[in-house]
């Protein structure tokens, strides 16, 4: 089949890459090594050659075939130990583009062994115009993990104890996120790596949106129903001891097994216990969240508080740029206090009769607050 290419730079690039795919393996390798040093068709583009190649790959299933072909050649070049053996005049440029290209394609079957060998040699160093080559190696390793050998390395990165590969706890988390799924599940250490990332974000003024991004990347990587993710995130937070401010980053009104088996922030649980006499089934996340079995008016009250807060939160996030966890706490306090007000249309009668009912705010989120105080009314 004859392919027609547009007569423009994009079309020329596509034609060059398609011709490359038709070459014999040895010729492919030689050509790729030249391209990655900005020679021949890859020369004089605004982007680095690896970007030029990625943008020129065909779409659809042909992309998978092209990625496999690229992985073969990248694997062959890596096997020649370009970190220690000079393969070309422009070592740094070749290594940078080679590793960046490897990071963009997922072919652990071909790339994992040579990348791991490069890591274990610990000889890679230097930079390409300010870009640390070890950062590119980290990205290539993250994207091509064939087993969980690097699990401990990512956790060390999370604890800021990794002494060779550079990276923040967030990078460590991305490494964990790309560990091979076990039975279609994320690695068991993902909860811990999120806890480490959250700890690192503690003094970041944008910690809430940034942590929410991390949570979202987990949900996107492993698609599940929202209900299931809401529940699983609470269990992760509980098991790994996420900081309390992270409450503002997840759904604090999760459903566990069915409509009546629900979770809620501690103050709501206290209110329901006082007003309806329902016991708390389980305290989770150091007492930030309580799990209860609710029916009748207690369930109605719970659902109205939940819906009111969820609606307010959505409006706040839509209308204002201010998205801090302090804003979240303030909004929760306001919604919760309103739910205790006699004027609140859905306030159940039992709460009115509870004269000595306390009005707890969401103190559990404030650092330094003792969880022991939360359920002692």
């Amino acid at each position: 089949m004859t392919v027609e290419y547009p007569d423009n730079p994009g079309g020329w690039a596509r034609r060059a890459v398609d011709r490359w795919l038709g070459l014999a393996p040895a010729e492919r390798e030689a050509q790729l090594v030249r391209w990655l040093q900005n020679y021949d068709e890859a020369a004089s583009w605004g982007d680095e050659p690896y970007r030029w190649i990625l943008d020129s790959l065909p779409p659809g299933a042909a992309l998978a075939d092209a990625q496999s072909a690229l992985a073969e050649v990248i694997g062959a070049v890596l096997a020649r130990h370009p970190d220690v053996e000079p393969l070309s005049a422009h070592r740094e440029q070749l290594l940078y583009n080679l590793l960046q290209l490897a990071a963009a394609i997922h072919r652990p079957g071909r790339l994992w062994p040579p990348l791991l060998e490069m890591l274990n040699r610990r000889k890679l160093g230097g930079d390409f115009f300010g870009s640390d080559l070890l950062v590119s190696l980290r990205a290539a390793l993250i994207g091509n993990q064939g087993d969980d050998q690097l699990k401990e390395l990512w956790l060390r990165m999370g604890r800021k104890q990794e002494d060779f590969l550079p990276g923040t706890p967030v990078h460590g988390y991305y490494g964990v996120l790309m560990l091979p799924p076990a039975n279609e599940e994320p690695s068991p250490v993902v909860a811990e790596s999120l806890a480490l990332a959250a700890k690192d974000l503690k003094s970041d003024r944008n910690r809430r949106p940034r942590f929410m991004e991390l949570v979202r990347s987990l949900q996107t990587a492993f698609p599940r129903d929202n209900i299931q993710w809401d529940r699983d995130l609470i269990f992760m937070a509980d098991a790994a001891g996420w900081p309390r401010w992270a409450c503002s980053c997840v759904n604090m009104f999760p459903r566990f097994t069915d409509r009546s088996d629900v979770g809620m922030p501690a103050p709501v649980a206290q209110a329901i216990r006082s007003a309806f006499g329902v016991q708390i089934d389980q305290e989770l996340w150091s007492g930030c969240l309580a799990r209860m079995t609710l029916r009748g008016e207690a369930l109605v009250y719970y659902e109205r508080v939940r819906d009111e807060f969820t609606g307010n939160l959505a409006r706040m996030q839509k209308q204002t740029e201010y998205r801090s966890d302090h804003a979240w706490v303030g909004l929760f306090d306001m919604t919760f206090k309103r739910s205790l007000n006699p004027q609140w249309s859905v306030r159940p009668s039992q709460i009115e009769s509870s004269a000595s009912f306390p009005c707890p705010t969401l103190r559990p989120l404030n650092l330094g607050y003792s969880p022991a105080d939360q359920f002692t009314h």
Partner: protein, 332 residues
């Protein structure tokens, strides 16, 4: 105001007359034409650029019958028989499902598994094309008078070793054939979601129903294939345009993120949640894609307990239950 593809139009849309005719003539009587018309009205996932391709292909004026024929012709030329089906092109960018890499950014974990049902019965023409006297597995079909149904049954009911050989040869045949003949798209779901159905007592009948595959006129042999997301190249959320004129497709609700794909319509109406559905082009399959799925080949019957209209309604109720009132539609 009449909506098409989930969008309101200020004037008269070129499809409005034809769709209205189909809806008024057939609404409420379980007619597939009407349900596809509903889907066209509702399918917000079809981007304006793909709508333009459809309208250009249909021409004008468009009546109800013309629409159905034109839609099917469009599907054949732009999807089924195309080496570059519309869904992989830039015009379908909003439906492209991101896949994670070593860089930052959202996307499906490439190590997650997809699953598809390979309809062996539907491959009769391909098997016969590759039935050469020297072919170890397919030479039995060299004689065109050989009953394909009996031949396939014998193959599928052979012992484990023979069956593995047959499936290996079948996958190799398809890997060769896909480079000569386009046949798009492949429909897939997530292995994790499909797994509970694998050992259902009704076997492949339940597999087909769970994936919402339109019943054929005769029983079909299905093989289960499991393969990583990272091996498909590009992955997409399907639209009605990728499903031909089929009422067994149902648009997924607005607001469901693209990486969740579409929603399968359970032909049995018993699922407590819809499965995610994705489309991609035909890819090379390895024998381990079959063995990793448990080496399963089974015969599916085409009888569904619910009528077409009842299962559409049940599916709609499931979507509302699952995704909330925003998923409720003005009509089925």
């Amino acid at each position: 105001m009449f909506q098409i593809f989930g969008r309101a139009y200020p004037g008269v849309h070129p499809l409005a007359h034809a769709l209205r005719a189909l809806l008024e003539r057939h609404a409420g009587n379980g007619n597939e034409d009407a349900t596809v018309a509903f889907n066209i009205v509702d399918d917000h996932r079809v981007p304006p650029s793909r709508e333009d391709l459809l309208l250009n292909s249909l021409g004008a004026p468009i009546g109800g019958a013309t629409l159905k024929q034109g839609f099917t012709d469009f599907f054949k030329s732009n999807i089924r028989g195309s080496r570059t089906p519309d869904f992989i092109l830039a015009v379908n960018a909003p439906n492209r499902v991101p896949i994670r890499s070593g860089f930052e950014g959202d996307g499906l974990q490439p190590g997650l598994s997809l699953v598809r049902l390979l309809n062996l019965t539907g491959l009769e023409r391909v098997y016969r094309n590759y039935a050469l006297p020297a072919s170890e597995e397919f030479h039995g079909l060299v004689n065109p008078t050989v009953d394909f149904t009996v031949w396939l049954r014998d193959k599928c009911q052979a012992g484990d070793a023979e069956l593995e050989q047959f499936i290996t040869a079948t996958l190799s045949m398809l890997n060769t054939d896909r480079k000569k003949h386009a046949y798009q798209p492949v429909w897939a779901t997530l292995w994790d979601e499909f797994k509970p159905y694998l050992d259902h007592p009704d076997g492949a009948t339940r597999w087909r129903q769970a994936l919402g595959l339109k019943p054929d006129s005769h029983p079909c042999w299905y093989a289960v294939l499991k393969y990583p997301v990272g091996e498909v190249g590009d992955l997409f959320r399907p639209t009605q345009l990728d499903a031909d004129w089929s009422g067994y497709h149902h648009p997924s609700p607005a607001g469901v993120p693209v990486w969740r794909g579409g929603c399968t319509m359970d032909c049995r109406g018993e699922s407590d949640r819809p499965l995610s559905e994705y489309v991609h082009q035909q890819i090379d399959h390895k024998p381990e894609h079959w063995t990793l799925a448990g080496g399963r080949v089974k015969l599916a019957l085409m009888e569904d307990p619910l009528g077409f209209q009842a299962l559409r309604r049940r599916h709609h109720d499931l979507l509302v239950d699952h995704f909330g009132e925003a998923a409720r539609r003005w009509r089925l």
